[in-house]
Symmetry: C2
């Protein structure tokens, strides 16, 4: 059998986040992107989620390099973790590599990587793979899609894109280049599905600039505070130019914002007029000051949320301030953002958010743009990527409507090994690709069981019952009950007294209850008490705390 | 001093939910609405939130009656709890009272209330208060606003409303009646603020019917499954007529839906064509069947979510099914709804939700409608109600723009006692109006402290360390560590062993450590170990589990 091309997504399918895809031809491997995902609300106590990249670690002798589409965390955030176990070359555009370098330095793994800057329409060879970049419009500069020539045929990976004709920064998505790069057609298209449930086209970034211009003109008295994503560098550029136009100085607050602005300025991605930037504490009249802050998602430690809480060291929100939230809320963050907005209003600010004005547009294309890409690329096979299951399905149907044969559309799960010889396609045995949870310093040690325990603890707390017994298995003292998160001790003296009585009653029952179980069967007796106490507390309160009896030999 | 009118919101301000407002004139009291709130995601383990109605309970000798604006749970859901402590008369329109009767019967408190049905434009006297209903368009039939004549002047309470000119069911908001009822002007307006952050007008319900008609025409092969709110009776009526038009029978699944349809049908609010309804298991060809289901919010036990999970007893979702989500997602539920949608797509259904089609519109008016009400009523004082803090502030500013004097606009908190003599207004001492948490059978026993514990437990779990000591305060055996939700025991043998060593080390240190603390100071020693172990675990894992050491005398 001839060699085959395999495409194995390790993350980013069935989820928005931790994008990572393996491509193999014969024994040659490359990887596209290596992102993290921010935890969903039922991932209790988790800081970050990584793709499971064991397959890459175990086969690193076959790895020719890692290719990055752009510098967002869901595409590069996993690198410091991967590089602890893998040494490799990393390819990306100048800004992307700049952001990666800073991140790897911070995490002290820079020596593990050889960083290679590639131009926006550069090309390079990794084993049998010829990779050509093409520029795409997205919410961070230096974003590219990939045309990957393989012996089996050409693969196109869109990266994150929109077909904005008037984007901030002027970088449009170059589908014409894709056509030129694929004179023999496209074997497989992997395309961004994020907005597959949004009809029409995503509005152009230009409407944001126009709306901000209008709002700046209206806010003639007080300060303007704009919260936006630190990586929306092209929008930051627009805002700075508008600030200058309206006679305002600009101050920055929030570490990621300060760092990104410094980096982008150094690399020439951000042109800041002389004298525009001032220190956050600088004495500037309110009506001549614009503050750029982090905190669009209401993150607890972000600059804007600290202002909302009254905990920002240099800034107090006050009557007359106009606060503009220039960013979309990620599903799951609505309540936190809502609480932050409430507090900002309470402090007297006028807050412009949500539907009140078009001060944010998505960086991802909507359905009409997806259709345009499908019609431009005309792939034989189509694999929707970068989306939750519903987005992948909607994108798949769109592809069928746009002319891809239904049997050539593959909705994959993470770990699926899609294989092709250029003529036909099939699925090989999948590779492991679970969620890897990061909790503090613990990486991959928190599993589903612990998550279930945390869930139960969050609902009804726990009860630990200490039951002292003597050598004859008789109760040898008063049982003690330790509890947290169930009912406040203040309100529960009677209830806990009754629980102790319930334990004693078990001993009085004698043979039928506990005493027949020998010391060697201590665990069994604990199981018995767990059941008795669970029933007792459910009967009394209709709650189900975690119950852990401990029999103590005294 | 002459008698004064007081308006005291006990719930619904700074939140969407548990609406309840006290009106007093001299010693005379009435209450408008008595709702519940569904918990926010940081209210761990809470089933429901009630308004704190102690003030009403303590002053029930002065209570003339309770007036209801409509039958939604955030306006009537608190009644069974209030009626355990208060006996009173309850006034509402026919459907509202019908829903209340059923609820009070279920909760066995019907004998506490005298239920009084009032017509859509009926009026009645409660002490010095003359209450006149006026019909409003909202997402449940029988909704009214109130004109309350008091000796100090007229108060208008909008209830929940929109100014839909072509609503399902044909019931428009009768502002003309409000004008006629208030020939001497309006002293104070209390108005719904829910959509104060939505510009323009809320689309009419008519667009939903038109869109459903179109979707029904397209779905010619498989079943149609529509998830909607059980209380959206006018929309249910439209759907049933459309089903008949398109030659489909209708089956219902979900208890609240079945109950509401039966009740509304009995009361004449729902006209169901002969033979249209079939049992859920009935043999009807797929293309002639429409299923109405509960589950718009992705609630775990709802009919649609059970279908998504494959746990519905009579229904399996399959390829060819068209599923329409005809309801808005309440902020905080996005992730649960998203997961449900993903599973429905996985089962092969075509799901229409969100922006894919206009299959839901809000039941609350948007900014232009709020402005229209303000301009029609022209109140001297304005109190925005029914909204989170941001909505109240935005509504307040809108009122100022619409001509209410800024000093006459009051943004109140729950419990605030707004007082007026008809000439001027001021704030009296507030009354208690906290959140009252319902958790299983526990009502009001779960406080902020328990909630904090649950939060911490949800993040990092807990550690209980059992430390056996003898009469001389020497370690008298191996310390034992019990833990849940921290790290799985499987992965943590070394860590727990090190923790036990840490405990032993404390004893070895002798005088400086634990031994100096006498048995009588056991609690102090436990505090010492808590600190030692907290530091130990943070150092090792960067996590902060709840740590509870227990010193055991053996």
């Amino acid at each position: 059998m001839s060699k085959k091309l395999r495409i194995i997504p390790l993350g980013g399918l069935g989820e928005i986040g931790k994008n990572m895809t393996v491509l193999e031809y014969g024994r040659n491997m490359i990887v596209v992107d290596c992102g993290v995902m921010f935890p969903e609300s039922d991932m209790y106590g988790i800081d970050l989620v990584l793709p499971q990249f064991d397959y890459v670690v175990q086969n690193q002798d076959r790895l020719h390099g890692l290719v990055l589409t752009h510098g967002h965390m869901d595409h590069i955030g996993g690198l410091p973790y991967l590089l602890r176990q893998v040494k490799t070359s990393i390819y990306g555009t100048e800004l992307t590599i700049g952001m990666v370098r800073r991140k790897l330095e911070e995490d002290k793994v820079l020596q593990q990587a050889q960083l290679r800057v590639v131009g926006d329409d550069g090309a390079f060879q990794l084993g049998p793979f010829k990779i050509s970049f093409f520029p795409v419009a997205h919410s961070i500069p230096g974003s590219v899609g990939l045309v990957i020539d393989t012996p089996a045929g050409a693969v196109v990976h869109t990266g994150d894109y929109k077909l904005d004709e008037t984007p901030a920064g002027g970088r449009t998505t170059d589908l014409e280049r894709v056509r030129r790069l694929t004179p023999n057609g496209v074997l497989a298209l992997l395309a961004d599905s994020t907005n597959a449930d949004r009809p029409g086209r995503t509005p152009t970034e230009k409407v944001v600039a126009a709306e901000l211009d209008r709002l700046f003109a209206e806010a003639t008295q007080g300060r303007i505070i704009i919260a936006t994503f630190a990586s929306l560098l092209a929008r930051l550029q627009e805002i700075m130019l508008l600030a200058q136009k309206h006679g305002r100085k600009v101050a920055l607050t929030g570490r990621s914002l300060e760092e990104n602005v410094a980096l982008a300025r150094d690399m020439g991605y951000l042109k800041i007029p002389q004298g525009l930037l001032v220190e956050i504490g600088a004495r500037v009249p309110d009506k001549q000051l614009l503050i750029l802050a982090t905190g669009v998602q209401g993150e607890p430690r972000s600059a804007l949320n600290r202002m909302a809480q009254g905990e920002h060291r240099q800034l107090q929100v006050k009557r007359g301030d106009t606060i503009i939230i220039s960013g979309g809320v990620i599903p799951g963050n609505e309540e936190e953002v809502g609480r932050m907005l409430n507090k900002l209003f309470e402090r007297g600010a006028n807050v412009i958010y949500g539907k009140l004005a078009t001060v944010h547009v998505s960086g991802h294309g909507s359905r009409d743009e997806m259709r345009a890409v499908l019609e431009a690329v005309r792939p034989k096979y189509f694999i929707p990527v970068h989306g939750e299951t519903r987005h992948l399905h909607l994108h798949a149907r769109l592809a069928e409507n746009a002319g891809v044969a239904a049997e050539n559309v593959y909705i994959l799960n993470n770990g699926a090994a899609w294989a092709t010889d250029g003529q036909k396609a099939w699925l090989d045995k999948p590779v492991p690709a679970a969620d890897v949870f990061v909790d503090g310093r613990l990486i991959g040690e928190i599993g589903v069981r612990v998550m279930q325990d945390r869930r139960q603890l969050s609902q009804d707390g726990f009860i630990v019952a200490l039951i002292p017994v003597n050598a004859n298995n008789k109760l040898a003292g008063e049982p003690e009950i330790i509890s947290r998160g169930f009912v406040h001790p203040h309100n529960s003296a009677d209830l806990m007294q009754a629980a102790r009585q319930e334990i004693k009653r078990q001993f009085k029952r004698g043979k039928k209850g506990v005493a027949k179980e020998s010391v060697a069967e201590g665990r069994l007796a604990e199981g018995h008490f767990a059941e008795v106490l669970q029933n007792f507390f459910y009967r009394e309160t209709h709650s189900r705390p975690v119950v852990l009896p401990s029999i103590i030999q005294v």
